[in-house]
């Protein structure tokens, strides 16, 4: 479902303490250039990601994974426990191809490893964002 006429709001966060930010910076810039509103949360734990997403009323959570497999899992669990089903969650970073199904199983809709085209990320978010029109 696409959201015509409303700015898509995205929380970008890093699951790991690893602060390498180049990937997050270019993805965030591409989303902004595409007209989305991006909040950069920096390094956040699962509950911080969840709280920030709710407080900021975002449509999308983008998680830079690094070593943060369990953080991603916990974010998905928190969303489920609180019955939040209108936030699209996508992940990126150095994720070996063998592990992509694991993230999909968690409920993460899009996984974007190194080399992913920025316009494909923009397109995926536009086409899959779940927030109803308001």
């Amino acid at each position: 479902m696409s959201v015509e006429g409303k700015r898509i709001k995205v929380l970008m966060a890093k699951a790991s303490l690893d602060g390498h930010w180049r990937g997050v910076a270019v993805v965030s810039t591409a989303l902004r250039d595409a007209g989305m509103e991006v909040i950069y949360g920096g390094e956040l734990g699962a509950s911080q990601i969840f709280q920030a997403a709710i407080q900021e009323d975002v449509d999308v959570i983008g998680i830079n994974i690094g070593a943060g497999y369990t953080v991603a899992q916990e974010v998905m669990q928190l969303l489920r426990e609180h019955g939040v089903n209108n936030i699209l969650v996508v992940a990126g970073g150095t994720i070996p191809p063998q592990d992509i199904p694991e993230f999909k199983q968690m409920g993460i809709a899009g996984v974007f490893p190194p080399g992913s085209k920025l316009d494909s990320i923009v397109k995926f978010i536009r086409e899959n964002v779940r927030t109803p029109l308001r």
Binding site: L17, G19, A25, Y40, P114
Partner: protein, 541 residues
């Protein structure tokens, strides 16, 4: 494909290129002034007269994973297969000086041991270095970030003491990378940059009188480049960082330039896809260092004037697609390092685009270097590209661009100023975004990514899995340490460190006492954060 479609040719950093270069392009070149023999001023051609005939470049691979014992096994494995120095990589928790039970670590235990071992105390160093003859080997003892470096260096020096090895025998380098921490990993967990400069300068002062063969820190252009900065910007950032240390040390009034300049004259560069730009960057760096140190600071001792260079092939050039292609990239990046005359080299393992490196990928990084050293015959003649119209012209050009960029940095408050304001970060982010646009449009080709793509990977690479028990093992060890150590020794040592940190004294003797009493990296990190506060991260992009 197969046709050159872009009509404007340039280096990766955007320096326009002519079709061919000739004598008129280097008409102003003065051999004595601008080149000189290797080992002679201005050291453009190399810092030692005999270079690789006397000593081949050090094979120096980044390595680390799991708990301290896993770290040790990887180091031993690499040494057994011909590595000629070793680097102890630690994990993010240690980089930031958190013990493995700090709340920031507990909510992301997966970080522990992911690309290095947590090194929480002298005990972890004892385990990680068990059976490794540190008196004979050149080491980088995981003194990676400024906040971690005093503690990590003190652990290594104390371990040597306990083994009866005189400090005068220890050779190696710390990193204490400001580029790594403030440009590469800007976060609220860091100290304000000015305090990082202070800790680094304390370490330099401590080491120069006690450890003559030790390089207490290395200014790592590498990490600025990987964030999105280009080649001449990397050169300028590196010099700006050096200037920050030099000016701080001189302002303390205790040391003259020739007392300490050798201790900061070890730097690193990121060598990547542009073969000739790699080479000229290294050559220009040596000449610029000589000029900066003599012209601005009046240094005279040749030790102060020789810039010794480590390089690491650029992980950001590695592709996730067709990852075996990264072996080929690493080979030619490494060849450029050899032709440029670096002192040590790491070749990023080919699987780094997918995971922490496996043993097998690490061995290929060693073999790449060994084949260059022993089969290719490139190590027989020093600075073989000198005199090439193109190479000399481009060396001049990149130097000119770097001086101009350094001026921009200095106009904005110097190195600490451009970190605090976020200017450096926005420059890097702009560079990174420009690169994305160039690869998206196809203006810059990346084989396997935007050309010569394949629907199915021709070679499947199994990702390396770090020890999943790294946190449990490290946590159990930390608990045992806290039970067994003599708290009557730890507490006064920590109190003394707090007092010194808040004064203007050198922190190192007090850090040594904490380490000897088996104080932990988290306890020391807490004192730094309490005494200095944490960084107000600027707007990054």
């Amino acid at each position: 494909m197969g046709e050159q479609t872009n009509d404007s040719f340039q280096t990766e950093s955007g320096i326009p290129l002519k079709k061919v270069y000739g004598p008129e392009d280097i008409a102003d070149l003065n051999y004595e002034r601008d080149l000189g023999l290797p080992g002679e001023a201005p050291y453009t051609r190399g810092v030692y007269p005999n270079m690789y005939r006397e000593r081949l470049w050090r094979i120096f691979q980044l390595s680390g994973t799991g708990a301290a014992e896993d770290e040790r096994e990887r180091i031993k494995y690499l040494l057994a297969h011909g590595e000629t120095g070793f680097i102890m990589e630690s994990d993010m928790s240690s980089w930031l000086s958190y013990d493995v039970d700090h709340p920031e670590v507990l909510c992301r235990k997966g970080d522990v041991g992911f690309f290095g071992a947590p090194l929480n105390s002298l005990r972890d160093y004892e385990i990680a270095l068990e059976g490794i003859p540190i008196e004979k080997l050149y080491c980088h003892p995981s003194a990676i970030t400024p906040i971690q470096s005093p503690f990590a260096s003190a652990c290594y020096f104390t371990l040597a003491e306990k083994r009866g090895i005189p400090w005068s025998q220890l050779s190696g380098t710390g990193e204490a990378g400001m580029m790594l921490q403030y440009l590469g990993h800007p976060s609220k967990h860091l100290l304000p940059p000015l305090h990082a400069v202070r800790l680094n300068c304390d370490l330099i002062e401590f080491c120069i009188t006690r450890l003559p063969k030790w390089v207490p820190l290395s200014i790592e252009g590498y990490n600025s480049r990987e964030t999105g900065i280009n080649a001449y910007q990397e050169l300028a950032m590196l010099l700006a960082n050096a200037i920050a240390y030099i000016d701080t040390l001189l302002s303390r009034g205790r040391l003259g330039i020739d007392d300490f300049a050798h201790a900061i004259a070890g730097v690193s560069f990121a060598l990547g896809r542009d073969f000739f730009e790699n080479i000229v960057q290294v050559r220009a760096a040596r000449r610029m260092w000589y000029r900066l140190l003599t012209e601005r600071y009046g240094a005279q001792n040749p030790r102060s004037l020789r810039l010794r260079i480590h390089s690491l092939t650029r992980g950001s050039d590695w592709t996730y697609e067709q990852p075996l292609n990264n072996i080929i990239r690493g080979t030619y990046h490494a060849l450029s390092a050899a032709l440029a005359g670096v002192q040590s080299l790491g070749v990023s393992p080919y699987d780094e685009a997918l995971s922490t490196p496996s043993e097998g990928a690490h061995v290929l990084s060693l073999r790449t270097q060994q084949i260059l050293q022993f089969e290719s015959n490139v190590a027989s003649v020093v600075d073989p590209l000198a005199g090439s119209y193109y190479v000399e012209w481009l060396t001049n050009e990149i130097e000119k661009q770097a001086w101009d960029y350094l001026k921009k940095i200095e106009e904005r408050g110097g190195y600490v100023g451009v970190l605090d304001s976020g200017w450096a970060h926005r420059e890097a982010a702009k560079g990174a975004m420009d690169w994305e646009k160039k690869t998206a449009s196809g203006e810059a080709k990346v084989v396997g990514v935007n050309c010569f793509c394949m629907d199915e990977e021709p070679h499947i690479v199994s990702p390396f899995r770090p020890n999943p028990k790294a946190w449990e093992i490290s946590m159990a060890r930390l608990e045992q340490l806290r039970r067994e150590r003599d708290s009557r020794k730890v507490e006064p040592a920590l109190d003394e460190l707090r007092r010194v940190a808040e004064s203007e004294g050198n922190v190192m003797p007090a850090v040594m006492n904490v380490v000897k009493a088996y104080g932990t990296i988290g306890e020391v990190g807490e004192i730094w954060r309490e005494s200095f506060g944490t960084w107000n991260v600027p707007t990054l992009f």
